[in-house]
């Protein structure tokens, strides 16, 4: 079994993975600099994705997601929100939510407004 080096770390905060970066991220740190709460720091290794340090201060406003030039960011609501936000498909009565297993395909209708 795994016996690699392990470190003693304090508990993660309640909401723990608030942001996930996919491999499109080039480490430009634009998201780091737009965050009002400054919850991220640039990664010491150049080009790597930033490090989220003050997770419980994240306000979930999504400013960083909109700032990312390559769309590499996804805002991850805490599990207690994901489990609270349920919708039911009217005809089938099926229930769905963000984060469920075998989800619906995405809906691609853009928001109203033509400003990008």
């Amino acid at each position: 079994m795994l016996t690699m080096k392990k470190f003693a770390l304090p508990n993660q905060s309640g909401p723990c993975r608030v942001l996930s970066f996919d491999d499109k991220c080039v480490g430009c740190n634009k998201c780091v600099n737009v965050c009002p709460m400054d919850v991220m720091i640039p990664n010491p290794e150049k080009g790597e994705e930033p490090i989220v340090v003050f997770t419980e201060e994240c306000w979930f406003c999504g400013g960083c997601v909109q700032e990312c030039p390559v769309g590499a960011l996804t805002l991850v609501a805490p599990a207690k929100q994901r489990i609270s936000t349920i919708w039911k498909r009217k005809e089938t009565g099926e229930e769905f939510r963000v984060g469920m297993t075998n989800p619906l395909p995405p809906v691609t209708t853009p928001p109203s407004g033509n400003r990008k």
Partner: protein, 663 residues
């Protein structure tokens, strides 16, 4: 990646990425200093620049997205002079005063009525979409086909608009920087500089600390505009539990008010501390079924598809969509929602809500939880308006709700969003996501702000106020733009007529000493522990039960906490240092609230204020009690609720506006 993952993989703690400068001090001078880079601050800076003044903006976060308005907005209140509006600025101001028995800011409401629409047109020029240009909602009852404007709440009187405001802050920020305002981001204001360092004297600048480098900055200015955020973290503090559900973020500590209080400015309405409706103990904003504000008009059904109807302010059920957006009295108008009039809302001004008898019917078994929004019952344009326009642009909704839900397949044409299953016996299901049902009685929400004159100048010369945090009884997003624009203009005028004054070196030295103590002493109290203690004191001594004696005890406890634990704080990096400075400022703000509660010897419905030792609601209490610090002692006086229409001002709103709004 998370900090824990980085540290687990690399085995070391990442160093602080920014160059430390605890001992660096930079001094900047300008004509107008704007404290707070939210929407109000940006408009104040733009207006001051247009007035020819050199401007510095001190923003706690990063002005592109900072402030409550930074997360987007869907309504614009106060556009009373738009071409389709049947409401005049006088009606707007008088209605606000009427519905709160005078406990709001009639002066600010009038200025907002006068200039709200022009402020919106300027935002349009800055690139924000305010009209349905692509005719997506052509023929809809909410749209005026000629001007293509979209209206909310009251589609007869058409004085409040629906706008595409998700990127309003980046646009306003870009314009502010284009016009040459110097923006100090990541800089938390810590104190106001006054002439000769005296309390109550003219304000001539401010000090701040950078939360990345720890540098100390002194800004000398001829005029200062306070446009910082409103009260938060004072009664309810549990970030892990509430942050994802809160409309206010941790940067909101009403620090703009606290530094004014310390500098001796006069405040009113600080005793307003009703039950916290937005306590953060509910759900993420607009993430669950509801029919309030952004979702107004969304049909609600119960588990079996049975319709839940809207009702007007008198409880009469409304069956078709157009009736939902009408005033409950003929000839009256809906003044709006969520604009700081919560303790009032006489029936003729209120928005329509869910059937008030609903919970009785639920208990009688007529309806069964959970409830759902069934937007398929709406015409396609109305459905698109609620989810595509309003929800997609409202604060904290664009990414967490619209983008993430649709990513996981949510389609309003097919899907019904579920209401939380809760005990709705004390609060209507409209506010389902806010969580008032599950907020303890002594978790309160604060109010109050600077006493301002017709130039939005505070009692301290050279200090102006703008936005819903600093100004009592002010309103929401659109109003903050308007008062920011007005206040910026006035500040530029003031700077033009008064020359600079050198700040008092001793005041600056003392402030530096105070701010950097947590770095020098290896204390053992962290900012979160201090904040939990502050919240407990406010819950106990300024919560549900208030008497002279217990308020005195509360002030003693807070002073004790400030002078004991507050002097053993520690911070190991600039981020923590600035959080410590914020928490310490909350001690002072809490004391100000308790002093204000002590000063009012009576209970007042208009302020949601109740005293156990003066339980009667009597007429004599219908007055303001301006409160301020003079040489460290609290001074109060009585002031009429209609001071803005009494000597030295004219008794006519328009006359005052004409005399004071320009040079």
């Amino acid at each position: 990646m998370n900090w824990h993952e980085y540290v687990a993989q690399t085995g070391q703690v990442p160093k602080w990425p920014y160059e430390l400068g605890y001992d660096k001090e930079t001094v900047i001078s300008c004509d107008v200093l704007v404290v707070g880079g939210g929407v109000a601050g940006c408009r104040a800076a733009i207006a001051a620049r247009q007035g020819g003044a050199s401007v510095v903006v001190m923003d706690r976060g990063f002005s592109k997205r900072s402030g409550e308005g930074g997360a987007g907005v869907d309504h614009w209140h106060g556009a009373v002079t738009n071409p389709c509006s049947k409401v005049t600025p006088r009606m707007y101001s008088e209605a606000a005063m009427d519905t709160t028995d005078g406990f709001t800011n009639g002066l600010a409401r009038y200025i907002i009525g006068k200039e709200g629409y022009d402020t919106l047109l300027e935002v349009e020029k800055m690139g924000v979409q305010i009209r349905d240009e692509d005719d997506e909602f052509k023929g809809s009852i909410f749209r005026d086909d000629e001007t293509k404007l979209m209206f909310a709440y009251d589609i007869e009187n058409k004085h409040c608009l629906r706008i595409y405001g998700y990127d309003i802050k980046p646009c306003v920020d870009r314009e502010m920087r284009r016009l040459g305002a110097k923006v100090l981001d990541r800089t938390c204001v810590t104190s106001l500089l006054t002439e000769g360092g005296r309390q109550g004297a003219r304000v001539i600048g401010a000090t701040g600390v950078n939360d990345r480098t720890g540098e100390f900055v002194v800004v000398k200015a001829k005029a200062v505009v306070i446009s910082a955020g409103r009260t938060n973290r004072l009664w309810g503090f549990a970030p892990e539990l509430t942050e994802s559900q809160s409309m206010c973020n941790l940067n909101q500590t009403a620090l703009g008010n606290t530094i004014g209080w310390r500098a001796g400015a006069e405040f009113i309405g600080m005793e307003m501390s009703g039950r916290a409706v937005l306590s953060g103990l509910g759900y993420a904003p607009y993430s669950t079924g509801n029919n309030n504000n952004t979702y107004q008009g969304a049909p609600t059904v119960d588990r079996n598809g049975k319709d839940v109807y809207y009702a007007n302010a008198y409880g009469k059920l409304l069956y078709d969509e157009a009736d939902i957006f009408k005033a409950s009295d003929e000839g009256s108008f809906i003044i709006g929602h969520g604009i700081g009039l919560d303790n009032g809302y006489k029936p003729q001004y209120r928005i329509t809500t869910t059937d008030p008898e609903l919970w009785k019917k639920v208990m009688a078994g007529e309806y069964q939880q959970p409830f759902y929004n069934d937007m398929t019952k709406l015409p396609a344009t109305s459905r698109r308006m609620i989810f595509g326009l309003m929800l997609a642009h409202e604060g904290k909704c664009r990414v967490p709700i619209y983008k993430n839900f649709t990513q996981w397949g949510f389609d309003p044409d097919k899907d019904m969003l579920q209401y939380p299953v809760q005990d709705y016996s004390r609060f209507p299901i409209d506010t389902s996501w806010c969580g008032p049902e599950n907020t303890p009685a002594n978790w309160r929400g604060g109010g109050g702000g600077y006493l301002v004159d017709w130039r939005l100048q505070t009692s301290l010369p050279g200090l102006f106020a703008a936005g819903c945090g600093p100004i009592f009884g002010h309103g929401c997003h659109g109003e903050s733009h308007t008062s920011g624009r007005y206040s910026g203009r006035q500040a530029a005028l003031y700077a033009g007529q008064n020359d600079a004054v050198e700040p008092d070196a001793e005041q600056i030295r003392r402030e530096r000493e105070r701010c950097y103590a947590p770095i020098r002493t290896n204390g053992d109290v962290g900012w979160k522990e201090l904040n939990y203690a502050i919240a407990k004191i406010m819950q106990d001594y300024c919560g549900d039960y208030k008497t002279e004696h217990t308020l005195d005890m509360g002030i003693r406890r807070m002073n004790d906490l400030f002078e004991t634990e507050g002097q053993r704080m520690y911070a190991s990096n600039p981020h923590e240092l600035v959080r410590v400075i914020e928490s310490l400022s909350l001690c002072e703000l809490g004391i100000a609230y308790m002093e204000a509660a002590k000063a009012r010897r009576g209970s007042v419905k208009g302020l949601g204020f109740f005293r156990n030792d003066y339980p009667e609601y009597d007429e004599a209490q219908k007055k303001h009690i301006p409160i301020s610090l003079k040489d460290g002692k609290v001074h109060t006086r009585d002031l009429s609720l209609y001071y803005h229409l009494e000597a030295p001002y004219s008794s006519d709103l328009e006359e005052n506006y004409q005399r004071y709004s320009q040079a």
